[in-house]
């Protein structure tokens, strides 16, 4: 897929560092410029309107690409259109937009009339395009009514588009550091890729598991916050702050400023040392609450997910991305089984490693007895295992091992390989070591027993085996995994 590269160029040209400090300010400026170079030239005073036009671009571009995600886009578009204030100039631009659209419509109809033989898919594309354009027309026409006025904070879709993207690599970063915003235009690109990206999300959405931490009960209404999305490379970059003089990288901005002092007296002034984001936007709009989106398509933390749950801070983004979408490269030096992608998780685990003495027959360990008992109360057929029992039949271990963490294993591989459907893992035989490895969420704030997302698929089978070999304490009366299997996170 070309999304990766496209998106890199396609972003709104902000340096990440500047974004971190004053995202609203910068993004809005860029939007201005973006807007000004749009095909539909419009003078706009208000920020939300920009977004509308970004979005218009998106939807118009969509048509060139023959992409069929019209419905969703248009809903957003609709909201965006509503968001703009009534203004004669806006009206004018709207009218010209409609004119454009009508032309497009005409072209399309011509295409249908004179196209001759088209395969079904093409036809479908055209139909969706038609629909989308008509809807856009209608909604834009509706916005021409002078009474429609929304203010920015309440506009439901005002923050949804455009998704400001951050520069993903060092080059853009340094560039942006030097030249604040003029360069941004250079990064401005036609929008179709966004749409494409979104489309792919929709496809993959259903395969994804929401394995992520349900960390907060935060219920911000959509649109009441601004969504930022860092790129993968940036998330994984060891340093996010770079010295413009020597190029040295830092994890924290404050450390960079401390470092800068060595480059000359001009960096030692209180102003240079002060935290920059406070006074950076004096008198500007009240800053929106910032929330973050995971760049991983289809992830629940991704802004395109139906049940999108934003991440609160950059740190959350980093931890989330590493935990969920990266390989677990840190192995516990004590048990050599558990693996982690976030080093802090490893450290936390190592503190408690070996203390997980509460073991379930499914192979899952718990550090607390009540957690184990909650687990066995919840899952039929699971019994607490008695530790140091050497005479345990290996059959139980094996099957329980593959039973226990299927969800986790699936999730693990799922992050690497999106195409694999989860149930495929259920019949795979896992080694005993593997069964432990996925259980690495000590540091995550899982509520309840989320460590066991879908372990029950093959439960009935395994308990049946148990019954035959009658080797362990699996209850033969187990009401079938079905009732439990849909217990999701």
């Amino acid at each position: 897929m070309e999304t990766e590269d496209d998106l890199c160029q396609n972003n709104w040209g902000n340096s990440s560092s500047s974004k971190l400090r004053e995202p609203v300010c910068f993004t809005s400026q860029h939007k201005w410029e973006d807007a000004s170079i749009l095909d539909y030239e419009m003078g706009m005073e208000e920020e939300p309107a920009l977004q509308v036009f970004d979005h218009m671009k998106a939807s118009s571009g969509q048509e060139h690409n023959n992409n069929n995600n019209g419905g969703q886009v248009n809903v957003d578009f609709l909201q965006g259109v509503r968001a703009q204030a009534w203004d004669p100039r806006t009206m004018l631009s709207n009218l010209s937009f409609m004119e454009e659209k009508i032309h497009e419509l005409q072209d399309l109809v011509h295409l249908i009339v004179g196209g001759g033989r088209q395969d079904q898919q093409q036809q479908q594309h055209i139909t969706t395009d038609l629909t989308s354009i008509i809807i856009q027309l209608i909604s834009t026409a509706g916005s021409l009514l002078p009474s429609v006025k929304h203010n920015m904070s309440t506009a439901p879709g005002s923050a949804l588009f455009p998704y400001p993207r951050e520069a993903n690599n060092l080059a853009s970063q340094t560039l942006n550091n030097n030249s604040n915003n003029n360069l941004a235009q250079d990064f401005d690109l036609p929008k179709p890729t966004i749409v494409q990206e979104r489309e792919s999300h929709v496809v993959e959405e259903h395969e994804m598991k929401d394995e992520d931490d349900v960390e907060e009960g935060e219920n911000l209404p959509p649109g009441s916050y601004e969504i930022l999305q860092l790129e993968k490379e940036e998330i994984l970059a060891p340093h996010t702050h770079f010295c413009t003089i020597c190029g040295k990288g830092f994890k924290r901005d404050a450390n960079l400023r401390m470092h800068m002092r060595g480059h000359g007296d001009e960096y030692k002034t209180p102003a240079a040392l002060a935290k920059p984001n406070k006074e950076a936007v004096p008198g500007s709009e009240p800053t929106l609450i910032k929330r973050y989106s995971c760049p991983f398509p289809g992830c629940k933390r991704n802004k395109d997910h139906k049940k999108f749950q934003p991440l609160k801070t950059i740190l959350c983004v980093k931890n989330h991305y590493k935990r969920t979408h990266c390989d677990k490269s840190f192995t516990c030096s004590r048990c050599h089984t558990k693996k982690f992608s976030v080093i802090a998780d490893l450290k936390t685990h190592e503190k408690h490693c070996g203390k997980n003495k509460w073991l379930c027959s499914c192979g899952t360990t718990f550090s607390r007895k009540d957690k184990l008992f909650g687990h066995i109360t919840l899952f039929q057929g699971h019994t607490p295992a008695i530790p140091l029992e050497e005479s345990k039949p290996s059959a139980q271990r094996g099957s329980s091992a593959c039973e226990n963490n299927t969800g986790m294993v699936g999730f693990n591989l799922g992050s690497a390989n999106q195409e694999s459907p989860q149930p495929g893992f259920m019949d795979g035989k896992m080694s005993f070591e593997e069964s432990f490895s996925p259980l690495c969420f000590d540091t995550c704030n899982f509520g309840g027993f989320h460590e066991f997302p879908r372990p029950m698929f093959d439960d009935s089978e395994s308990s049946f085996q148990m019954l035959i070999s009658s080797a362990c304490g699996f209850s033969p009366r187990n009401g079938g995994g079905g009732s439990v299997s849909n217990t999701s996170l």
């Binding site: 007895k369 008992f373 009658s470 304490g473 209850s475």
Partner: protein, 640 residues
Amino acid sequence: MSLSILSALSEDLLVRVYECLDPPCRKTWRLVSKEFHRVDSLSRTSIRILRVEFLHTLLSKYPNISTLDLSVCPKLDDDVVSRLALDDTVSTSRLKSLNLSRATAVRARGLETLARLCHALERVDVSHCWGFGDREAAALSVAAGIRELKMDKCLSLSDVGLARIVLGCSNLNKISLKWCMEISDLGIDLLCKKCKDLTSLDVSYLKITNDSIRSIALLPKLEVLDMVSCPLIDDDGLQYLENGSPSLQEIDVTRCDRVTLSSLVSIIRGHPELQHLKASHCVSEISVSFLQNIKALKHLKTLWIDGARVSDSSLLTLTSSCRALTDIGVSRCVDVSDIGMMGLARNCSNLKALNLACCGFVTDAAISAVTQSCLNLESLQLESCHLITEKGLQSLGCYSKRLQELDLTDCDGVNDRGLEYISKCSNLLRLKLGLCANISDKGVFHIGSKCSKLLELDLYRCAGFGDDGLAALSRGCKSLNRLILSYCGELTDTGVEQIRQLEHLSHLELRGLKNITGAGLAAIARGCKKLVYLDLKLCENIDDSGFWALAYFSRNLRQINLCNCSVSDTALCMLMSNLSRVQDVDLVHLNRVTVEGFEFALRACCNRLKKLKLLAPLRFLLSSELLEVLHARGCRIRWD
């Protein structure tokens, strides 16, 4: 009886006749003929194995055994059990009830074999297997059909083990977890969530909190709840029971220190069908609200409020509203006096058991009233009622013909005349006269001549009677199986030798009888073949001849206390090796026994010992392998 008559009886008729017999007669029955023996072996359903050597033969001889008692079987261990599993002639598929109480040498492996072997197992008793832990519980949980399980004093059993059992045997009806000290709220909670059919639950002495009671209250079928001495449970916990456990019929909150009357009131309010309320030593006073609420309990049969301050008037109100009461416990209720007792007697004419221990103000008048109106009285406890004299006992003798159990321990007023009156209660089975210093041979003679059914007699520290009295007892009370003669200082060999006539005697305490020698003990050993328990502590004058005789004759001895006896090395070795059923020995302060003596004696019996008391210094003098073997066999050593 001619042979023709016997042969005329068909087998099913024989079976019917056989079914009418009681166990001792059945023993004789099977000696009659081969046919009779066959009927016996086919009809017998329960068996108690005394020696492990016969386990295989007996089980293969009796194919229809459904109840197997291995609780007194020494040397029972995993190997025996696995051999049993290999034996094709033994059929255990019909076995429903299995008693493994105190079978400490049977561990997880054996239990699992047993659980697999006995498919139909429904009742299991593993109480007092102190080493029984989670692994054993896991093994037991293989027997999924278990309905009743007794696990008292399985000291190592924790929540994990309980969880295994709960998940393995979800049809549990009754479970007793008394003294399983590791069990916590989590285990009880899981039990209550998974075993909804539970009707009887015993959580006595556990360190469980109110959370457990909340879980227990969710049991829909619970009928009996015993929670004696749960120190962490208070009124807030018991409140849960007001609206929970709708079928509750019996509750025992004895010695729950934090429980007060208010929570009892709430339980009563929620359970008008309650039949047994045992709240001894936890309520301090009987309040008006309690009296008002208890009126609703029309079916209340048992009420124990020992230790509470109960005034006469409240006792009157109480008994007038609960006339169905058959068992009342008001021991240590110091305020109770004759007026209250007379009212009680009037109101509760169906009374069968009355406990008045330590009610110091109760006099003969009360006893007269009770005996005259409660003609069904079967059990009367009058311990430390010092005001009771021969007059009270007279009415007891006149009216209480059904009396089976009488406790007169420490009643100063009991004298020979009193015993004469008591002896008229010819159905008396258990009589306790401990610390009654005023009785002499004369009184004991009356008991011996009239109370022929007596099973238990306690004459602890009755220093007033001597050899003649004991002779009369031995002549008259032939069915005695439990006799306590400790510290009856007058007794000598002459008297003690008479005990040999008591063929059924199984429990004998001769503590502190300085006058008896080897000859006396030898006579007892020769006569009382069924002796199971013998206490010879402080019998300093018994010499080796007595112990030799004991070693030779008392092959059924299971428990013996030899503290402060002058037993020699050889005699001890002889005893310990010959007494093949001995399982519990106290060997403290044996001055004549050397360390080697102990070592050899214990080596001789180490594979059957289950409990052992030794002087602490021996811990370091005995060989470590001996101690290891003892430990491995599940023997518990108390170092004194």
